[in-house]
């Protein structure tokens, strides 16, 4: 039965090559756009470098104080992390890092822009960076205030060129010389929580980071639970602690701060009233709907036209007792076959598109790829598309009166 449908479908596709071309073009381009979008989202959501054990981690990135008149939001202060977060019982380890700041260095008649961050030693244990050379700095080095630095592969290439080994050499940044202790694989800027070029122990910061007694400051923090099962309890413990925080200023009435899963932390806007998650999902949904709606309508249009062409075939089959259901089923299956063929074409197109995007290097170190998740999305998109554009024409066709259908020829 299915084999027959398949044969008929191929025969029909061959008959009007121009229409077949239009249909395949439309479907495969639409799916390509969706696949590129999915690859991008997949890169952001599922790229677990350097935070590989995400299921055991919670991220604290924002602290909001708000009152009826005023609202202030930012990252966390070093004081707050030490005084409140580090006293939590549940987390096995706590990693802190400052938000990136920019500086320059001038070497060999070249200017290099550097994003640097201050971290603690636990940062290198909680997050699993790939080290190409050397190793991270230790808690002892941090405590001694040694001027050591972990640098990214990108910075190594720009600063040292093709020197064989640079561990132990000095890098000058921000007018200070640091000894390179390790070189890590670069984190793409899409993972903005952890990307950076130069990582320094927080004890070498030029300013006294511990002096401010505000809650808000320049640090973010990652909590690691001993096991996956402890994560909800750890989250609850943090929220309880946050609920008991005293207000620093009488113009504020509320404090909002959350220990989030990765995606929530990634999208948190820092304003409790504007959920970043909601904004992003709305934009993505509207985009996907728009991208799918017009081509689907277009296909319905073409399919309706093409089905009318086959009215004699429908008439004959109906006259010999085929039910509307069977006929509609056949047309939907034919349409799905067409969509799946286009799906194959779109995989090729997507590979080309992703290759072009990677070549263009829109964001440093960002490499999009077609992986299993994305392929799954492609398949799903094909099915939805096939059903979306096949259902209405099939329904219209199945309602055709036998007399009319036969008369038309």
């Amino acid at each position: 039965m299915l084999v027959n449908y398949f044969k008929i479908a191929i025969a029909v596709l061959k008959r009007r090559k121009f229409f077949t071309f239009i249909s395949i073009f439309i479907i495969s381009f639409t799916i390509t756009i969706l696949v590129v979008l999915a690859a991008f989202i997949d890169k952001v959501v599922n790229d677990t470098y350097p935070d590989r054990n995400r299921s055991r981690l919670l991220y604290i990135t924002k602290f909001e104080e708000s009152g009826p008149q005023s609202m202030n939001s930012g990252a966390l202060s070093f004081y707050y992390l030490n005084r409140y977060v580090k006293t939590l019982k549940r987390p096995a380890r706590i990693a802190i890092s400052s938000r990136p700041q920019g500086t320059n260095t001038y070497v060999n008649n070249k200017k290099i822009s550097i994003n640097y961050k201050y971290t603690d030693a636990a940062y290198w244990e909680v997050l699993d960076h790939d080290f190409l050379e050397g190793k991270p700095f230790t808690a002892q080095q941090l405590a001694n205030g040694e001027r050591v630095a972990v640098i990214s592969e990108r910075l190594r290439k720009e600063y040292f060129g093709n020197a064989p080994s640079v561990v132990g050499q000095y890098i000058e940044a921000d007018a200070v010389r640091y000894r390179v202790c390790g070189i890590m694989k670069s984190v793409p800027p899409s993972n903005y929580l952890f990307s950076g070029d130069l990582f320094l122990p927080y004890t070498v910061a030029k300013t006294d980071i511990a002096s401010s007694k505000d809650y808000r400051g320049n640090f973010i923090c990652v909590l690691e639970a001993p096991t996956r099962a402890d994560v909800p309890a750890m989250k609850a413990e943090y929220e309880q602690m946050a609920a008991r925080l005293p207000m620093t200023n009488n113009q504020y009435t509320h404090i909002y701060t959350h220990a989030d899963s990765y995606l929530n932390a990634y999208l948190r806007s820092g304003n409790e009233k504007k959920s970043g998650m909601r904004i992003v999902s709305t934009v993505v949904t509207i985009f996907v709907l728009l991208v799918m709606l017009l081509p689907a309508m277009n296909l319905v249009n073409i399919n309706v036209t093409r089905i009318m062409e086959r009215s004699s075939e429908i008439g004959v089959r109906k006259a010999f007792g085929a039910s509307s259901k069977v006929l509609a089923g056949q047309f939907i299956i034919e349409n799905l076959i067409l969509t799946l063929i286009s799906g194959l074409v779109s995989v090729v197109l997507s590979l080309i598109a992703l290759q072009l995007i990677n070549r263009a290097n829109l964001l440093n170190d960002l490499h999009l790829s077609l992986n299993f998740n994305v392929l799954l999305v492609t398949l799903l998109a094909c099915l939805v598309f096939g059903l979306l554009s096949g259902a209405y024409p099939a329904w219209r066709m199945s309602r055709m009166q036998v007399i009319n259908a036969l008369k038309a020829s």
């Binding site: 439309i26 001038y106 008649n109 921000d174 030029k206 300013t207 277009n298 296909l299 073409i302």
Partner: protein, 391 residues
């Protein structure tokens, strides 16, 4: 003839419903792209209002520990002298984080004549700011030392704010605000601080006093055109030696302008690519359906030719039919598009929407014309004998 064709298409409205919906949605997509393009283009044509070539921004964080305002003041003056003494430096100015082409924005509002004017960009500047950025004075003067002792706070405003406060009259010497707290001493031309594709908006410049020193975290340095990388390294050394506890970064305004422009163009480019793809899509579909429909009407066309219609008039009829069909969609589309200026949805000038609507209507008609052209030509080539014979 139009009435007749109109009736013909209206009678077939159920059959053509999908086609019309498709054109309607394409109209809305084109309208969105056109609105942004017209808006950007309008902004792009306005002058930048400053000279950003050879101006560098020095970012430094949190340099001083003392709370004594006078010693901070002295420190900044000494720093300015040191930097200005460098051979390739022409002018130095201290300001807040909202330097040109930076994402930081500081805004406030003012009550004037019983209404609230909000979203006024607020700049804390010193006496050299105008010379560093080469702002164009339209009237009055820039700040100088005497302003420190002025009884009413002196401010410089931009042309947009002048128009909102005082209409077209000169503003120099006048006070504004419900409690008359500011006195205008000069008006500068609008400056597009956020890149070439954005509006300047309202702006007020305040002279830095000892109370506002805490937020001065950027330095603008105008250098001579021959200032090279070696000099930049020297400037960097000089500043980081003077600001021992600060992290220092030097950026060029030309680079910042580039990345700011990319930021505003990026959504536009993505939207255009998607819209372009959708339009190609619709065009192909439209072409296919029109071609098919015309092929189905060969008998009708043959009959018309047989009773004397020329090939030209036949193809004209088919093209006109397609255009009338799109008129239904365009009317529906314009109805929705007109709501944007009427309800003032995105705070854009009404002219932008009007221009966008006109362009979108033209675009849709052009698209339909192109798609109907070939099928129309084909229909004109029908031989009556052959067409009628088939029946």
């Amino acid at each position: 003839m139009f009435r007749h064709l109109f009736k013909l298409m209206w009678n077939k409205k159920k059959q053509n419903f999908l086609l019309m919906t498709e054109m309607f949605v394409s109209f809305l997509v084109v309208f969105a792209v056109m609105t942004i393009s017209v808006y950007y283009y309008g902004n792009y044509r306005k002058p930048v209002g400053m000279d950003y070539e050879n101006v560098w921004v020095v970012n430094y964080s949190n340099p001083l520990k003392t709370d004594n305002k006078d010693s901070i003041w002295l420190f900044y003056e000494a720093l300015q002298r040191t930097v200005k003494a460098l051979p390739q430096v022409r002018e130095v100015s201290f300001t807040t984080s909202n330097v040109p082409f930076a994402s930081a924005t500081i805004m406030n509002g003012v009550g004037h004549k019983g209404r609230m004017i909000s979203n006024i960009n607020w700049y804390n500047v010193d006496d050299n700011y105008q010379r560093v950025l080469d702002l164009k004075l339209l009237e009055g003067r820039w700040f100088n030392k005497q302003d420190a002792v002025a009884p009413v706070k002196p401010v410089v405003i931009n042309a947009t704010l002048r128009e909102e406060l005082f209409g077209n009259e000169p503003a120099t010497g006048r006070q504004y605000g419900d409690d008359k707290q500011s006195r205008v001493i000069g008006v500068v031309q609008d400056v597009k601080m956020k890149g070439d594709y954005t509006v300047a908006g309202r702006a007020v410049y305040n002279r830095t006093d000892t109370a506002s020193l805490g937020g001065m975290e950027k330095m603008l340095v105008r250098v001579t055109p021959d200032a090279n990388l070696a000099f930049e390294g020297r400037l960097y050394k000089t500043i980081s030696t003077a600001l021992k506890t600060a992290n220092v970064e030097i950026e060029h305004l030309t680079d910042k302008r580039g990345s700011m422009n990319n930021m505003s163009l990026m959504p536009m480019i993505i939207l255009s690519i998607v819209a372009g793809f959708l339009i190609i899509n619709v065009a192909l579909g439209l072409f296919g359906v029109l071609w098919y429909n015309i092929n189905k009407r060969r008998a009708e066309i043959g009959l018309r030719r047989a009773v004397g219609a020329t090939g030209r008039s036949v193809s004209l009829q088919l093209i006109t039919e397609a255009l009338i069909l799109s008129t239904f969609s365009v009317i529906a589309g314009v109805f929705f598009a007109v709501q944007f200026p009427l309800l003032n949805v995105f705070d854009l000038p009404a002219m932008v929407y009007v221009a966008a609507i006109v362009l979108s209507v033209l675009f849709i008609y052009l698209l339909v014309l192109i798609c109907a052209f070939y099928p129309g030509r084909q229909a004109a080539a029908v031989y009556p004998a052959v067409a009628l014979h088939e029946d």
